[in-house]
């Protein structure tokens, strides 16, 4: 058990049910919905010290701490969440939930459709970032929160932006890390390759693979491999693997794994299959692709005119999936809309993954931003 003094310790995923149907952005109604969530820290009497953390593509509700004594893996943002950390659980009531369409406790394509008593599979409606936020809003209201801070990296940043626009009166501050107001064509292209890998797996069976002996594992693993390439960068890959061979110091002259980088991708693909659902991957990447604030509101400036929040935007120098130029687009539109914004491009060789790795610099910045300079980390 990787115990540290400033850990939130043992945590538990809880569940909240939305019985009524909600109206989706596509015009369809959908429900009931179960939401998996975790909370750390305590909500104050004014109910305004909440921070909602929004996970990236394949994250879950388990953002901090560990689930049992033998748990080797901490929550996905454990470096940033805990007593005295960036998201200080001594001060704040921190909430994290699994996204709508996910596969870690919140209703998604692998959930049982109450009407058929079978998993939804591709009968699950196509969802959007706005829909996910709508569900999170219900959770936050259920928890009694009146004012909150929203924070997220990558897809989580998209949700944070959406929060600030659709729930302007509730959101005090927004932290956007390595994110964008719309994915560029290159980003959509990589997601499309991932989806194609899944859709063309012989065991995909039009999404109806639940309970079958054979699963679309190969397709999902390839989708993850493509994803991992985009999360790193040339420098990070070179440092991590170079051209080193995995098992010997010379080529095998066959098509099995030769290079360390191949082995790494295969490992990432294999372990991903154990924890993620192929249908969820389709739905969530689609939601990410559809997200486009400028298109939806006429312009990015028009979108941000609707917010009442103060913003912190961060990007990383080596992130080519969500490049600094896209963060700057957000910052410039916020300035044009007359909003309070700070922006920092953090020097990092870690690619897009930096938002989960470069926690020391992020901690300094986030703490100062949240305390408005009163708590100099």
């Amino acid at each position: 058990m990787p115990k540290t003094s400033n850990s939130v310790g043992l945590t538990q995923t809880k569940y909240f049910n939305i019985e009524d149907k909600i109206l989706l952005e596509s015009g369809k109604e959908f429900g009931p919905i179960q939401v998996a969530y975790e909370t750390y820290g305590t909500l104050n009497d004014d109910k305004d010290n909440a921070i909602l953390l929004l996970h990236a593509l394949t994250g879950d509700a388990h953002a901090a701490g560990y689930h049992d004594e033998n748990d080797k893996k901490r929550g996905w943002w454990d470096d940033m969440v805990g007593p005295g950390k960036a998201f200080d659980t001594d001060k704040y009531f921190v909430i994290s939930s699994n996204m709508l369409g996910g596969c870690s406790g919140t209703t998604g394509p692998c959930s049982i459709n109450p009407e058929t008593q079978k998993p939804y599979a591709l009968d699950f409606p196509v969802i959007t970032i706005e829909d996910a936020v709508k569900v999170q809003k219900k959770l936050v209201e259920f928890l009694g929160v009146k004012k909150l801070i929203v924070a997220g990296g990558s897809m989580g940043g998209m949700q944070a932006l959406e929060w600030s626009i659709t729930n302007a009166d509730m959101v005090d501050s927004v932290i956007i890390i390595a994110s964008t107001s719309r994915l560029n064509a290159q980003g959509i292209a990589f997601n499309a390759v991932g989806r194609n890998a899944i859709l063309s797996d012989p065991y995909f069976n039009n999404g109806n693979y639940y309970g079958e002996e054979k699963q679309p594992e190969k397709g999902l693993a390839i989708a993850r491999m493509v994803g991992h390439i985009t999360y790193l960068c040339e420098e990070a890959m070179h440092k991590k693997f170079g051209r080193r061979f995995q098992y010997s110091d010379k080529p095998n002259f066959d098509f099995n794994i030769d290079f360390q980088v191949e082995s790494y991708l295969e490992h990432q693909g294999k372990t991903f299959v154990d924890r993620f659902d192929a249908n969820s991957y389709l739905y969530i990447t689609k939601a990410v692709d559809y997200f486009d604030l400028a298109q939806k509101h006429g312009s990015l400036k028009a979108a941000f005119e609707k917010t009442n929040s103060r913003f912190l935007v961060m990007s990383f120098t080596s992130d080519w999936l969500f490049p600094t130029s896209q963060s700057k687009e957000i910052v410039q539109a916020l300035i044009k809309a007359g909003k309070d914004v700070s922006f920092c491009e953090i020097e990092s060789p870690c690619g897009h993954d930096a938002f989960l790795l470069e926690f020391e610099t992020q901690t300094k910045i986030v703490k100062s931003f949240l305390s408005k300079g009163e708590d100099n980390a």
Partner: protein, 204 residues
Amino acid sequence: MRKASDSLHLNYTVITNIIEQGSKVLDLGCGNGTLLKMLVEEKQCSGLGVDINQNNVIESIQKGLSIVQGDIDEGLKEFGDKEFDYVILNQTLQTTEKPDYVIDEMLRSGKKVVVSFPNFGYWRVRFYLFFKGKMPKSRLLSFHWYDTPNIHLLTVADFFEFCKERNIKITKSVYIKRGKISKNPFNQVLTNLLCEEALFVIER
């Protein structure tokens, strides 16, 4: 011995005195945010800083300021016309790649512009070059020729000419010599010789 930082501090005080209570200010090349913080605290200004350096950005955020990391040579496109009461460029003009463009952009986005720079026409600077035959170094110009960020050094006379050519009005001038404000308004030739550092408020 006086240090460059004392002189900077005097600068800050001068600028803080010039700027009216509650102004909306944009501080370009704001460094670690010391001046902006003074303006926010002492003059209740609402302010935004811009700096290119990550550590400066972090230090400014730690002071509770709003700051955007960016390169002022790329322009101020995100700022609307006359959006700020004051745009400040303190001791930074000579480090920009396109000073003329930067000044144009400042005059566009600000009602008034505060600009300050070390005067390369100062007699000590002239003497340094004349007698030593080497690129001048001083408290305000502390770098070697090869590592200096000051790539567009100018004199007060250059600045007068620049403003005249472009119909830029100088509404206030403050001359600083050896860490003190020079009270006597010299004629322009003498000013260029005797002031070590100049600060102007300009408008168009």
